[in-house]
């Protein structure tokens, strides 16, 4: 059930749920929403894999997102030549668990890749994502050559009118977006929307044509079917690459949902910033690509351990 359907079908219930959710802290307080009907799930205090399992349970299971025989792309952040402890890349165990979960839901194949910033093969191996995703059965592919990308037009984009997108994304039935929660020196935070810069070839175009607008524009072309923000470790400063483990905070959090703007807004609050101050989140909200007003949503807050 989509957010819009939810509001239309049960405006009253939804409103009640949203109001109650304002009190916060009580786990699973939005009880008006039945199991599997939450818009957003936030989990804290567990291991990355366990938090994911809890979140998927609350969202109604992976079967809600992946149907039998579908091709899935799982898009982590593998941008940097850094080990998992540096929190520059998505948690490898989480990626492995997501891949397995897709197969359990009947996916015919699961592809994992990123268009990295640092030398790609070192990013893939030092992040441990290549190894763990492959062991879980995923096909891990390269993203470092222009020949892997096809041009698409972005009719609803304001600054981004066309761009080259990785063929695996173009061929996929389901796109699962798995960024890590981290600081970014220029956009303050790098979350789900920013992570999708890793499925296009020419990032330089983004940077020279209003970065924040381009990030939002891409969402008009392709909204991920599921966004999972890995906040097990959080890079609190010197992002997006980080300098050392001294930049990392053990947040032990995970946020998941369909609405990419909403998950980004929730993660921004966890990071300690206001979503209104993050240009690409604000722009996406204004363009109606999702909502950053969390009060409108039914949120399941789960505390573990």
């Amino acid at each position: 059930m989509k957010r819009r359907d939810f509001i239309v079908k049960g405006a009253g219930i939804g409103l009640a749920g949203a109001l109650i959710s304002n009190f916060g802290g009580l786990s699973a307080v939005g009880m008006t929403a039945e199991e599997g009907q939450y818009d957003l799930v936030a989990v804290r205090g567990g291991e990355a894999v366990d938090m994911f399992d809890k979140a998927m349970e609350a969202l109604g299971g992976m079967g809600k997102f992946v149907k039998s025989g579908q091709k899935v792309v799982v898009k982590p952040n593998i941008g940097w030549d850094a080990p998992p402890e540096r929190a520059a890349n998505t948690n490898p165990q989480l990626i492995a668990r997501i891949v397995k979960s897709c197969f359990e839901a009947g996916a015919s194949q699961v592809v994992v890749f990123d268009h990295t910033c640092d030398q790609w093969n070192r990013c893939y191996s030092n992040s441990k994502i290549e190894e763990s995703a492959r062991n879980a059965g995923a096909r891990v592919v390269q993203g470092d050559d222009e020949s892997f990308y096809n041009e698409v037009s972005v009719p609803d984009g304001k600054s981004l009118k066309k761009t080259k997108v990785h063929k695996e994304v173009l061929n996929a039935d389901v796109l699962i977006n798995v960024p890590i929660l981290k600081n970014h020196n220029s956009t303050t935070v790098s979350l789900a929307m920013k992570n999708l810069m890793g499925v296009v070839w020419d990032r330089r175009y983004y940077h020279s044509n209003d970065l924040s607008q381009c990030i939002a524009d891409f969402i008009t072309y392709r909204k991920p079917d599921l966004n999972i923000i890995d906040g097990y470790r959080m890079l609190t400063r010197n992002g997006p690459r980080g300098v050392s483990t001294a930049d990392v905070s053990d947040l032990k959090a995970l946020i998941a949902g369909r609405d990419i703007v909403a998950v980004d807004a929730a993660a921004t609050l966890m990071f300690g910033s206001d979503p209104k101050d993050i240009n690409h989140i604000r722009i996406a909200n204004e363009m109606g690509l999702g909502t950053m007003d969390l009060n409108k949503l039914s949120i399941n807050r789960i505390k573990m351990g």
Partner: protein
């Protein structure tokens, strides 16, 4: 099998193995060869070893050349037959030439070209002593072969990898093979290597080891040594029937059957003549009586004066012409055609190019590097590219950090690990992390945040030490600021900057003298623990 047939076969096997080994080292797409093995194999290349010795004064690191001299004094120029990859390549070409030729081909005794030989040797010695690296680049046989491997053969190997190996292994679910970038970003080094390789190949096809015995200064130097070598190919006049089989097979064209003599200075001890002689009139043996020697040094000096200046002038003229081709003029033209809103951009004025980490000083580097391009081949990111005009004449074809192509991986020490001449000294990872090869300069006037008033920050994003950080500007925008003390000059910022070269808003100016940067100060972090609540 006779002894000489055994030696000849052994020579061919050893030479093939060494050639294949060097070939693999230069085409190590998957970094399978440990750097230590590459260094060991290449430590017996004469010029790189000599330069290593001059750089370190260590016989352990750079004693290979002495060993080769010693071997030459004992048995002659076996180096040229089994160690020098360029020599082996010429043998391969000549062998193909003889196999494919319809009529049987014979070598004939030819006189040497002493003026040319000793001129080139003289030029090389002067270049090595006074540190004219750009001359060494063109005369060292190993480096000529290295460039042929890097700029000509590696693209072929990469093509084969991308078109055949990757699809094949991926279809078998083996993923340790992957796609590599095929094309070289610069075409001039490819053209030059091709021209030189074709020229040498042509002479090898027609005349065997003519290059080794006319131009190659290592060949000439070892030739001098082999005049005194203990074991030499010698005639037994009593047995010889002057059938001419030996002279016909001698790729050095140095056997004169008319007066039963072998020019040992040109003989590369390939054992072909010894094996072919039906009368066993030729043998490799110690002298029966002390050999007479002549001094060729005076000839060399005289020849130097007459030919040397003319030759290097011509080279200078050619290089200057090339420099004009790729120099600032193109940029000036480009600027005239730029859109209105970019006319105010400032051109990046770089005082120095950026030498690879471990070069020490640019001057030292230019003196020692032979441009063999092994580092260019080994560099995983491709940031190392052969210099065209960057170092000036002194470093033509020596590698420099080309930040248009890529940037230096913070955690990589590959170039210093493989360099056979110590032009790039090996660095530990800790040292590499603080070796400052250049400093970043921010040009606010060119920056997207200033010109377009939109977010960017690509430079800061890529910076490994956060020497480039974003500070508040206006309207909630952030703009870069550089802290040069902790900058290592890796070029990540320059490469990532979306403004087109040469108008980058941030660029790295090389350090003429590389130094240690300060370590970034690590501030205590206020930990946000998992026990806290949801802020929404």
């Amino acid at each position: 099998m006779t002894l000489y047939r055994f030696l000849r076969k052994s020579r061919i096997i050893i030479a093939s193995l060494i050639f294949i080994l060097v070939f693999i080292i230069f085409n190590d797409l998957y970094e399978w060869i440990p750097s230590g093995i590459a260094r060991t194999v290449l430590s017996f290349q004469f010029v790189p070893s000599l330069l290593t010795f001059l750089a370190t004064f260590s016989l352990i690191a750079g004693g290979g050349f002495l060993l080769i001299l010693l071997i030459t004094l004992i048995t002659g120029r076996v180096y040229c037959s089994i160690i020098c990859p360029l020599g082996i390549m010429q043998d391969i070409i000549n062998r193909i030439s003889r196999y494919t030729s319809k009529k049987k081909r014979f070598f004939r005794f030819k006189k040497e070209y002493p003026v040319l030989r000793y001129t080139f040797l003289g030029i090389m010695i002067i270049a090595l002593i006074t540190g004219l690296g750009w001359i060494t680049v063109w005369l060292d046989p190993y480096s000529i072969m290295g460039r042929a491997f890097t700029y000509l053969l590696k693209p072929l190997i990469t093509w084969g990898n991308n078109m055949v190996a990757v699809p094949l292994f991926h279809s078998m679910n083996i993923y340790s093979f992957f796609h590599h970038t095929l094309l070289h970003p610069y075409v001039l080094p490819v053209i030059l290597s091709l021209a030189i390789t074709v020229a040498i190949g042509y002479f090898a096809w027609k005349r065997g080891r003519l290059f080794c015995n006319t131009i190659c200064p290592v060949g000439t130097l070892l030739g001098i040594a082999s005049r005194f070598s203990f074991f030499r190919v010698r005639f037994d006049r009593n047995k010889c029937t002057r059938c001419g089989k030996c002279a016909a097979i001698c790729k050095s064209e140095c056997i004169n059957i008319k007066n039963y003599s072998v020019d040992n200075s040109r003989c590369v001890v390939c054992f072909n003549c010894l094996d072919v002689c039906p009368e066993a009139a030729l043998s490799l043996r110690p002298p029966l009586k002390p050999a007479k020697t002549k001094s060729y040094l005076r000839t060399a000096e005289a020849a130097q004066e007459s030919v040397g200046s003319h030759d290097s002038n011509r080279r200078k003229i050619l290089l200057t012409f090339l420099a004009f081709l790729v120099g600032n003029r193109i940029y000036a033209l480009k600027k005239n055609r730029m859109p209105e809103n970019q006319k105010d951009l400032l051109i990046n004025e770089k005082e120095h190019p950026v030498a690879p980490p471990g070069a020490g000083t640019i001057e030292r580097f230019n003196n020692i590097c032979t441009g063999c391009s092994l580092c260019v081949s080994a560099c995983p990111t491709g940031v190392l590219q052969p210099a065209l005009t960057e170092y000036g004449l002194a470093g033509f074809m020596q590698p420099h950090m080309d930040y248009l192509t890529n940037y230096c991986n913070f955690d990589c020490t590959k170039c210093g690990d493989v360099c056979p001449t110590e032009a790039i000294l090996p660095l530990s990872l800790e040292d590499k992390h603080i070796t400052q090869i250049g400093k970043a300069f921010f040009v606010k006037q060119n920056c997207i945040v200033f010109t377009d008033e939109t977010d960017c920050g690509a430079c800061s994003e890529h910076c490994p030490t956060k020497a480039v950080k974003m500070v508040p500007y206006k309207n909630g925008l952030l703009i870069p600021e550089v802290e040069q003390a902790i900058c290592v000059g890796c070029g990540a910022c320059e490469h990532a900057c979306p403004v087109g070269a040469p108008f980058k808003a941030i660029y790295v100016d090389g350090n003429a003298v590389q130094q240690f940067a300060e370590k970034p100060v690590v501030k205590e972090l206020k930990q946000q623990g998992p026990e806290e609540d949801f802020p929404f």
